[in-house]
Each structure stands twice: as structure tokens, then as C-alpha cells.
């Protein structure tokens, strides 16, 4: 068993001990047991339950189904050998029937049981001198013990049998399973920030084809990037000190879901870093270990930072520039969805085309005037995660939460889980970001390139120094040509790439702000005129996330621009610099987006060790 999880359980046991009553032996025993049981998620009615009662039930019925509803599983009955190897966190319950005594419970602190003679050489105090196998314990009672004051009790006799008057049980904690049984869900793909591709559209008028520059991207970059690891790497430790927070610090998740989210984000980061590393290794024909030295992007979960990190903010505009100068025809085009290949279903679907990590939906009245425009920058991963959190035991709960979030966003109870599902090309049922509710109510980002994974992908790849013909590349256009990350026809990708690469060129380690997200920062309403002179800014409402007076700190992921009916006019009656608002795009044009990066001091790795500048990788 993974020692990490064991430590976790023992920590909880010691916490239980600390918080239990120490008003005498009887109270201490009962209180400790009750806290241990509660911790294991037992039903509340453990009042009055004592170790002795549990022992009696175990002996009488052979199980603890009655009082603990199988939260406790019997590993070994008195005078018999255990079915499985004992492990840290197992309980030993003792009682001497007929004495009316409360009994005793202790938690095995270390799986390595020691023979009696070995204890002496280890200098560990033991409860008796009898031969057998002893283990250090955490316990309450007359003389409580924790791991700090090692005290050993006899778990097995010298023939490997549990002594009479003892039973060994194991707590079936969900918490334990959550960490042990986590498998990265299949939806968590090695997604790159892909170029925007509208199907069956005529060639875009402006900026469509790039003229050939002095060089072309090297062929090895075109290698399929969808390689998926079979299982999670367990080599990296989950740092207790760092947790990936949910996007925008949203509070939908309880502690278990937060844990699973953290595991998912950590996998995402690691995958992106591995992807960047593999590309370099493949391209330079070096080992991955050597290639890792070129990457200046790190995950704070697997490489805890003991250096001070400074914030760097990357701003861009929500309205895409790929379709040319803003004009009524461009606004109309951008407002509407179009046929694209969804990378979730791998099928063609009508999806929103707004590709600067911000999407919007327009609501009109019967006179075709706009009453409301809803903006979102919530990542699809947040909702895919709720559909499949990577922990089987959490699935039912998270899916219920998914449906209730949708119901709240769309303001209707008439949404079921089936509404949010689709079948992919293999026939599997998956969460569908192009479901009709998201389409209509703009619950979260659905354009295939608008994902958290894509954001992390760009950051990881832009943190690699590149050169062309031996000369260091400092121009982000050349950088994108060389590496092929993102889509050059956006504002976000080049801007993010430029900022990250610039930091990497200073030999600084870079990561992303926690919580990782793509945020709306501010809506600029200067020059907007309403029919009655009301400040247009009052119609901008943040629905999820939070605005901050300092736009660098804003973490808005859902907002709307809406004029209430009582005002007597609509959004379309508001003029931006003399032009009435006929399209949501006109508002998006004045919406600032941002993401936050964090970087360390020059020439230092996250652990604080001095590290020399990496050699740039030639194109």
C-alpha cells in the first residue's frame, strides 16, 4: 500500500485522538472510538458504542454490519490468522467479556510488525514480554500514545494468530479509496490548443493564408500528439502544501471533489509537461531526462516552489480578430455557431466559433432586440470533470451536481443527465459540450480549442527556448511558426506565448496562477450611451467568479450584459460610440480577458537550486 495514504490515515487517527475526550480512561476509549468511526463515515448513531460492544458483536455475528454498516471489515477473528497482510491504519479491538469493561481500541501505526526481541534493539516500549509480533500503535485510554511516543502492542502470537480477546478490523474509508483508486478519466486528453477550423466555409478574407516565411515548421512537430498514457504516473508525489483550486475559486465542490479536481489538474499539468518534453526528446534525438532540462514550465504540485513567485498578467481582447475588422457582417458572423469537429465526440457539430477563450450567447425579444448577452469563460473540463471525476465512488454525486449546476445556469429544472450526454465516434456515451443546453444558455466554453488543457499546453510549449539557424528566436510570430502551438490568427495564443517565452528567455521557471483559469477582467463602457443616461456599466453583472477593482485580480467566468424590463428599453437601444448594439460581438469587442502566470527569479529552479540557461532548441 502506498505509504502516502497510510500516513494520511494515521494523521487522521492522531487527530481523532487529539479531539477526543480525555476525561478518564472510559471516556477516552469511547470517545476515541467514536471519532475514529465518524471519520470513517459511519452513521451517526455510534453513541454509546464502545470497543467492548464492537468486540461482542464481532464474535457473535462474525461481522460488524449491524453497528457500523460494513464500514468496518473484520480482518482477523480472535485466535485465528489474518486473511490478508496487516497494514498501517488497521484497528485492534480488545475486550475481556464478562468484565463489563469498556474495552480498548488501538490503531496500528506501522505495517512492519516486529518480533519481541527486535523491539528491544529498536528501543521501543512494549506492552508485554510474550513472544509474538508487535506493532506500534496510536491509542487512547489511560495512557494515550501517538507515533511520537512509540509504544508497541502484541498483534499476533508467535504462530501468527491473533490473540484471544482481540479482533483486527479495517476501516472502509471512501477517503482512502479516493486516493488509491484514482484513475485519470478518459476525457482528460492530451489536448493541444488547436487551430480554429470551420468546416465548409469559404476561405477567410483577411489573414487566411500565411505567406511562406524564411522557414517552415520542422516535420517532426506534425507527429500525432494524441498519445495517451495508460495510467497515472505515481512517481510524482502529491505535495501536501499545494492544492490546485477549482477555477475562479468556485465553491461547488466539497472536499472529496476538490481532491479529485486536484488530482485531475496535476495529471493535466504533468501530461502537458511530458508532451513538451517528448517533442524535444524526439526532435533532438535525446533522452526525455535530458529533454526535461529544456523546459522551463513546472507544476507546483509535483515540484513545490520554495522560491518566491512573481505574478505576470497576460491580457487580450475577447473579440476574435481572425475574421477581419469589426463590421456588421463580422459581428453577425462571430455571434453565430458553425460546423466544427468536436474533439470530444470526434464528430461534426454546430458549436460557437468564438476562439479567444470567451464565448457568448445573445437573447432577443419578439421584436428581435437584444435583451441579454451572456458571457462565459468557464472551461469545459470543469463540467467534464463532474461527469467523470476519475473516482468511481464520487460519480453519482458529481453527476447530480452537474445536473443541478446546469439547472441553475439555465434556470429550469427540466434538465436530465441524458440531455448532457452524447455518443462519440466509438459509440461510447460521454459528456457532450455541444449539448443543447450549453448551446442555448452558454454554460461553458465549447469551441474545441477553448480548454484549460489548451491553455496549459501553450504555456508549457512556449516555455521552451527556440532558435533558428543558431539565432535565438525572440519574435513570437517566428516562435509560433517554429513550434506550431496554438493558432497564429488569434490574439490570445501569440500574447500568451510571447509573455511566457520572454520569461523563459530570462531563465526563469514559469507556472500558472492558482486557480488556473481564463478570466474576464473588465468591460470597458466608455462612450456607451443609454437612452436615459444610466451608466451602462450598471448593466454588467458578474454571475460566477468575482470582479476586482484591480482588473489583474478579477476572476470572472460568467457574466451578463442585460437591461431589466423595468428600465423601459433594451440592450439594442444602448449605443456604443453612436452605434446601437445589434450583436453580442459589439460588447465582446470591449471585454478584456486575462490569465495569470507566475514566475521565479532568474537562474533558479523551483527548489531554489541554481540552474544555467538552457540551450535553445533549433527549429
Amino acid at each position: 500500500m502506498n505509504s502516502d495514504n497510510g500516513d494520511y490515515i494515521l494523521d487522521r487517527a492522531e487527530l481523532a485522538l487529539l479531539s477526543s475526550s480525555n476525561g478518564g480512561r472510559l471516556q477516552s476509549e469511547a470517545s476515541f472510538l467514536q471519532r475514529l468511526l465518524r471519520d470513517g463515515g459511519c452513521p451517526v448513531s455510534v453513541f454509546g458504542l464502545s470497543p467492548a460492544r464492537l468486540f461482542r458483536e464481532a464474535v457473535r455475528h462474525g461481522s460488524l454490519q449491524r453497528s457500523t454498516q460494513n464500514r468496518l471489515k473484520i480482518i482477523a477473528m480472535p485466535s485465528s490468522r489474518p486473511d490478508v497482510a496487516l497494514r498501517a491504519g488497521d484497528w485492534m479491538i480488545r475486550a475481556v467479556p464478562g468484565t463489563g469493561d469498556v474495552g480498548h481500541v488501538c490503531v496500528l501505526a506501522c505495517a512492519d510488525l516486529l518480533a519481541r526481541f527486535a523491539l528491544a534493539s529498536e528501543g521501543i516500549a512494549a506492552e508485554s514480554a510474550q513472544p509474538g509480533f508487535y506493532g506500534t500503535v496510536i491509542e487512547g485510554g489511560a495512557y494515550p500514545h501517538t507515533r511520537k511516543e512509540p509504544f508497541a502492542r502484541r498483534f499476533l502470537d508467535d504462530r501468527g494468530r491473533v490473540p484471544p480477546h482481540s479482533v483486527i478490523v479495517r476501516a472502509q474509508s471512501e477517503e482512502v479509496d479516493a486516493l488509491e483508486d484514482y484513475t485519470p478519466p478518459t476525457w482528460l486528453k492530451d489536448r493541444e490548443r488547436s487551430p480554429t477550423r470551420i468546416i465548409k466555409r469559404p476561405a477567410e478574407s483577411i489573414g487566411e493564408t500565411e505567406t511562406s516565411e524564411d522557414f517552415t515548421p520542422p516535420s517532426w512537430l506534425k507527429v500525432s500528439e494524441r498519445a495517451r498514457r495508460a495510467s497515472i504516473d505515481t512517481e510524482f508525489e502529491v505535495s501536501e502544501a499545494f492544492t490546485f483550486e477549482p477555477t475562479a475559486m468556485l465553491t461547488d465542490f466539497g472536499p472529496k471533489l476538490r481532491k479529485a479536481w486536484h488530482a485531475m489538474m496535476e495529471t493535466l499539468f504533468q501530461r502537458k509537461i511530458d508532451l513538451a518534453t517528448r517533442k524535444i526528446a524526439f526532435g533532438l534525438s535525446i533522452t526525455e531526462a535530458d529533454a526535461a532540462k529544456y523546459v522551463r514550465f513546472f507544476s507546483p504540485a509535483s515540484r513545490p516552489a520554495s522560491i518566491t513567485l512573481t505574478g505576470a498578467n497576460v491580457p487580450w481582447n475577447a473579440f476574435p480578430i481572425r475574421w477581419g475588422s469589426p463590421s456588421p457582417s463580422t459581428y453577425k458572423l462571430v455571434d453565430e455557431p458553425d460546423l466544427q469537429t468536436s474533439d470530444v465526440l470526434q464528430k461534426n457539430q454546430m458549436l460557437r466559433i468564438q476562439d479567444e477563450y470567451c464565448e457568448w450567447q445573445v437573447f432577443r425579444n419578439s421584436a428581435n432586440k437584444i435583451v441579454r448577452v451572456v458571457f462565459t469563460s468557464e472551461p469545459p473540463e470543469y463540467y467534464q470533470f463532474l461527469y467523470e471525476p476519475g473516482v468511481a465512488a464520487l460519480r453519482k454525486f458529481s453527476r447530480d451536481l452537474l445536473v443541478s449546476l446546469y439547472q441553475a445556469r439555465c434556470d429550469t429544472k427540466a434538465i436530465t443527465l441524458a440531455d448532457l450526454e452524447g455518443t462519440d465516434v466509438t459509440g461510447a456515451t460521454v459528456y457532450d459540450p455541444g449539448n443543447k443546453w450549453n448551446n442555448q444558455y452558454c454554460v461553458h466554453l465549447q469551441m474545441p480549442a477553448n480548454t484549460l488543457g489548451a491553455q496549459v499546453d501553450i504555456a508549457a510549449r512556449a516555455a521552451v527556448l527556440r532558435s533558428h539557424g543558431g539565432k535565438l528566436i525572440t519574435d513570437v510570430k517566428k516562435l509560433i511558426n517554429c513550434d506550431g502551438f496554438g493558432d497564429p490568427r488569434r490574439q490570445s495564443d501569440p500574447t500568451i506565448g510571447d509573455n511566457v517565452n520572454k520569461l523563459a528567455r530570462e531563465n526563469q521557471f514559469i507556472t500558472l496562477e492558482n486557480p488556473v483559469g481564463l478570466y474576464m477582467a473588465k468591460l470597458d463602457t466608455s462612450g456607451w450611451k443609454t437612452p436615459d443616461g444610466t451608466d451602462a456599466q450598471t448593466f454588467w453583472k458578474v454571475l460566477r467568479g468575482k470582479a476586482d477593482k484591480d482588473p489583474h485580480k478579477s476572476m470572472i467566468v460568467r457574466a451578463e450584459f442585460a437591461v431589466p424590463k423595468s428600465q423601459g428599453y433594451t440592450v439594442s437601444d444602448i449605443k456604443i460610440a453612436g452605434v446601437p448594439i445589434d450583436f453580442g460581438s459589439q460588447i465582446a469587442e470591449h471585454l478584456d480577458m486575462r490569465l495569470g502566470a507566475r514566475f521565479g527569479p532568474k537562474d533558479k529552479d523551483p527548489g531554489g537550486a541554481t540552474i544555467s540557461a538552457p540551450k535553445p532548441v533549433d527549429c
Binding site: E210, P494, T495, G527, G578
Partner: protein, 512 residues
């Protein structure tokens, strides 16, 4: 590298001369008129066509003037011209042509007029604030304007004479004069400098294009020294710091930059307007009053406050003012001369960039030339850096997306009264929305553009909560800027048509 033959032939006999190359005379007068009788006005303006100074004429005039100056060793006294151009506002054009014709212009800013766009470009929105459109002396709802006659000369008495004649001519044929502004380079502390004392007009774009089919017969001469070391920079610049921009960014009827490649011509990518708009340009006129006292008081107070907080490294008055502008009063760029004015002159004044210093060095230019990507020498919010980020990526993405935002500045200082002096700001472009207004709304008046933490433009920005971000002692001091040093007191958007418009198009509307 774009082959020279990609640069289109410019119709220099059709393009009015203040657009290319600009009048550049010591005196430039603006006569604003409204049209009271469209039919008479049409006839009058049409007859004026042969007197309008074309690009070809003004280019030739400048060439002669320069040649004489080179021979004399000083400015010539006997090469005088009076130049004449005419531009029309959307309201004026509607009267002379028709509303559907003017609707053909894609540029919504031009069609609505400056007053309607005033709040959007950062002008005060509160009626009682200084600079609000209701207080303007020209333009705005109180003083609508249909057109402007622009006249320029080095010879003031002669100019005033000609001006009287023109006024008599137009007022007797369906037009009335609503306002006049007189620009004068001598109305500033120093000719060629603006009111705060800073040298102006150093960095202007060059327009790609040729006189004739001869491959290298460029309208804007390439002045870099010969030799392969300068080949790369020559591909993008005509002179040091003067970017080569495709003509369609300033003129109708010509193509613009292809996508994100400033070196490639896209002849199909033309500004949209009526067919008779070809060889014309959209003009912005802003009468900007400058408060010199207010500005220098702010500089003095702030440098004193900084000296208290940062006794070791606070900039003195002169240096602080240079950090606000991005150049020392002499024109020396702060990027190349961060601590004191080392006195860079000539071409070298514009030979610098931010992400990478340009190479190779110009002959005789030995002053330091360092990159300054983080704005530690020249703050990110310095005026010249806010409106021209040069080789730096911006919130638009690539640096290659900045050239299409360029404008041709043709302004001149004015001094009407002791408390009314400033700059008659004039610029030409083919899209007011994407060029002038973009610069004002997106970069000047926004604190985190073109780069994050730049702060607002301390010279031009208006509005509450403005800050100038000054890097000092390893941190950034956010200096609040509450006063307005530059205040708009008038203005309008105009269209400066081709000669053919006056000669032929106007008459065709007379018959309708």
C-alpha cells in the same frame, strides 16, 4: 522580402498633398465652413480642382526647397508656396453627393462624426468638464461643420492674402465660414517642438509606393546606407524608425498588408468606400489645448514627491518629464539615453526598438542602443511607447499587427491666446475606427495595453483613475494623474478626396 515591383504606382496627381507628403510649412490655416447652398458649393469646389495642391506638386516643392537649402547651407528665402487642400465631413459630403453614397463608406466613425464618438475616444463625458464636446469651438452639436479648407505657406502675409481671397470665393458661392484656426510653428517654445517643449514629428511612417514603373522609383526614398548589413532593416523601413506601410492603410483604392506580414501586399484588401473615394483619405482634426503650467506643475510636484520616497534614484524634473513622453525635449529617445540627454541627433533619434536594438549601427552613431523589453529605461506607459510599441508584441498578439494601426500625422502647433495654445492635431488614415480611434480607445486610454502594467498615457489620456506606472528601484510606482494637460476644444472627422472627385464626381451629382 517584397520585390520593389510589388509597391503600387501612386496616383500622385490625384492625391491631395497634405496626405502625402504633408505641407510641412511654418503656417497652416484651417478654414471651417458649412454648406448653405449645395448646388452653388458644388460648382465652386469643383472649379477649385486645378488649384488644389497635389502630392506630386508638394513632393516636388519640397525637393526644390531641400535642394536650395543644401546649396545655400540655410533655409531658402525664395522658395515659397501657398498650398491648398479641401476636405469634407460626412454631413458636407451628404449635401454634395447623397446619403446612400456616403453610406458606402465602411468607416462608421466618419459617418457618425467626431462628436458622437467623443466619449469613446476618451473625451470627458460630463458636460461641465473641460473638453466635453458641448464646449467645443468647432465641431460638436453647437458648431457643425461641413468642410475645411487647408492652406499652408512659410510666408504669412502672402498666406493671409490668399486666405482672404478664398474666403470671399466660398462665402459667395453657397458656403459660410464657421471657424478658423491658425497653426504656426512659431507659436510653440521652439519651431518643430510642441507646447511643453518637446520636439515633435520625429517618427512618421513611410508609405510604400512608386512614382513610375521603374522598380526603385520609390515615393519615399530609402535613406539607409548601402551595403548588405542594412538589407534586413531596409525591407521594413525607409529611414531609421520610419516603417514602410502599404498605401491602402492611408488611401482608398490601394491594397493593404496581407494578414500578419508587413512585407506582403494584398491588393484585394482595400478600405471600403464609394468608388469615387479612391486616392482619397480620411482625416482626423482635433484642436487640442495644452496647459503648459499644469503639466510642469505636475512634473515638479511628482518629482519632488518621488525624491522624498526614493532619495537615491528619483528622477529630476527634466528626466521625469522625459520618462512621461519617451523622449527628452531635444528628441533624444529615452530608450537610448535613460539617465540624461546624451544629445542624439539626426536619424539616430529614431533608430531604436524595444524588444531588440536594431543592428547594425548607423555610420557615426556611437551612442548606446540597448533593448528595453520590460520598460526599465523607457517606461511602458511613456507616450511614444503607448501609441507605437514598435517591435513588441501587444494585446493584439504579434508586433506585425501594429503597422496597420499607423497614422500619418500632419499637425501643427497653434497659439491663439495666452491661455489658448496647443496643437492642431491632424492625421490621415483609411480607417478612423481601426487606426486613430483604436489607438485612443484601446491603447492611450487603457492601462494594461499595449502591454500589461503600462498605465495610462500620461500626456493624452483623459478620464478618472489614471495612473502612470514608473519602474523604480525594482518595483513599479503607480503615479496617479488627475489633471488633464491636453484637452480637446474642437474637432471633426473629414474625408480628403482626390482631384478627380472635385473635377468630375461633384459635377456628376450636380446633374442629379
Amino acid at each position: 522580402m517584397a520585390p520593389p515591383t510589388d509597391e503600387p504606382l501612386l496616383a500622385l496627381d490625384e492625391i491631395q498633398g497634405n496626405i502625402i507628403p504633408g505641407f510641412l510649412k511654418d503656417h497652416q490655416h484651417f478654414i471651417f465652413f458649412s454648406i448653405t447652398d449645395a448646388s452653388a458649393a458644388r460648382s465652386c469646389l469643383s472649379k477649385m480642382n486645378s488649384r488644389l495642391s497635389t502630392a506630386a506638386e508638394v513632393l516636388e516643392a519640397h525637393r526644390i526647397w531641400k535642394s536650395m537649402r543644401d546649396r545655400l547651407g540655410h533655409e531658402p528665402d525664395s522658395a515659397h508656396y501657398v498650398f491648398l487642400n479641401v476636405a469634407l465631413s460626412a454631413t458636407g459630403l451628404r449635401k454634395l453627393t447623397s446619403t446612400p453614397e456616403v453610406d458606402d463608406f465602411a468607416d462608421v466613425a466618419f459617418k457618425l462624426g467626431l462628436a458622437e464618438r467623443s466619449g469613446y475616444i476618451g473625451d470627458p463625458s460630463v458636460k461641465t468638464d473641460s473638453g466635453h464636446v458641448s464646449g467645443w469651438v468647432i465641431g460638436g452639436p453647437a458648431h457643425p461643420v461641413d468642410g475645411v479648407v487647408i492652406m499652408a505657406s512659410d510666408d504669412l502675409p502672402w498666406l493671409e492674402d490668399e486666405q482672404k481671397k478664398i474666403i470671399k470665393e466660398i462665402t459667395s458661392q453657397g458656403m459660410s465660414v464657421v471657424h478658423q484656426d491658425r497653426g504656426d510653428v512659431h507659436g510653440a517654445p521652439k519651431p518643430g517642438h510642441e507646447q511643453f517643449g518637446f520636439k515633435d514629428g520625429i517618427s512618421l511612417p513611410s508609405v510604400r509606393g512608386r512614382w513610375s514603373k521603374e522598380p526603385y522609383d520609390f515615393v519615399y526614398p530609402r535613406t539607409f546606407p548601402r551595403g548588405t548589413p542594412f538589407d534586413t532593416v531596409k525591407a521594413d523601413f525607409a529611414e531609421p524608425g520610419s516603417r514602410l506601410i502599404w498605401p491602402g492603410h492611408f488611401l482608398f483604392g490601394y491594397g493593404r498588408q496581407k494578414g500578419d506580414d508587413p512585407r506582403t501586399y494584398d491588393s484585394a484588401n482595400q478600405p471600403k468606400g464609394p468608388i469615387w473615394a479612391r486616392d482619397g483619405s480620411l482625416m482626423v482634426y482635433r484642436r487640442l489645448r495644452q496647459s503648459t503650467d499644469e503639466f510642469w506643475r505636475f512634473v515638479e510636484d511628482t518629482s519632488k514627491a518621488l525624491a522624498k520616497k526614493y532619495p537615491k534614484s528619483a528622477p529630476d524634473k527634466q528626466r521625469f518629464s522625459a520618462l512621461l513622453v519617451g523622449r527628452w525635449a531635444s528628441g533624444t529617445p529615452v530608450t537610448r539615453s535613460p539617465d540624461k540627454d546624451v544629445g542624439i541627433t539626426g536619424d539616430a533619434q529614431n533608430y531604436f526598438a524595444y524588444d531588440n536594438a536594431p543592428t547594425p549601427a548607423l555610420p557615426g552613431d556611437s551612442a548606446a542602443n540597448m533593448a528595453d523589453p520590460d520598460g526599465l529605461s523607457c517606461p511602458l506607459g511613456a507616450h511614444i511607447r503607448k501609441v507605437n510599441p514598435r517591435d513588441q508584441a501587444t494585446d493584439l498578439g504579434f508586433a506585425e499587427r501594429t503597422p496597420p494601426r499607423s497614422i500619418l500625422r500632419r499637425g501643427i502647433t497653434y497659439s491663439a491666446k495666452s491661455d489658448d495654445k496647443g496643437l492642431l492635431f491632424v492625421c490621415y488614415q483609411s480607417s478612423i475606427v481601426d487606426q486613430f480611434e483604436f489607438l485612443m480607445n484601446r491603447w492611450v486610454n487603457k492601462p494594461n495595453a499595449p502591454r500589461d502594467h503600462a498605465g495610462h498615457d500620461p500626456i493624452l489620456a483623459l478620464g478618472p483613475d489614471r495612473v502612470f506606472d514608473l519602474p523604480i528601484e525594482n518595483k513599479v510606482e503607480e503615479i496617479p494623474v488627475s489633471k488633464a494637460f491636453v484637452v480637446p476644444t474642437g474637432g471633426e472627422y473629414f474625408f480628403s478626396p482626390s482631384i478627380a472627385f472635385f473635377k468630375k464626381t461633384l459635377l456628376s451629382f450636380a446633374r442629379k
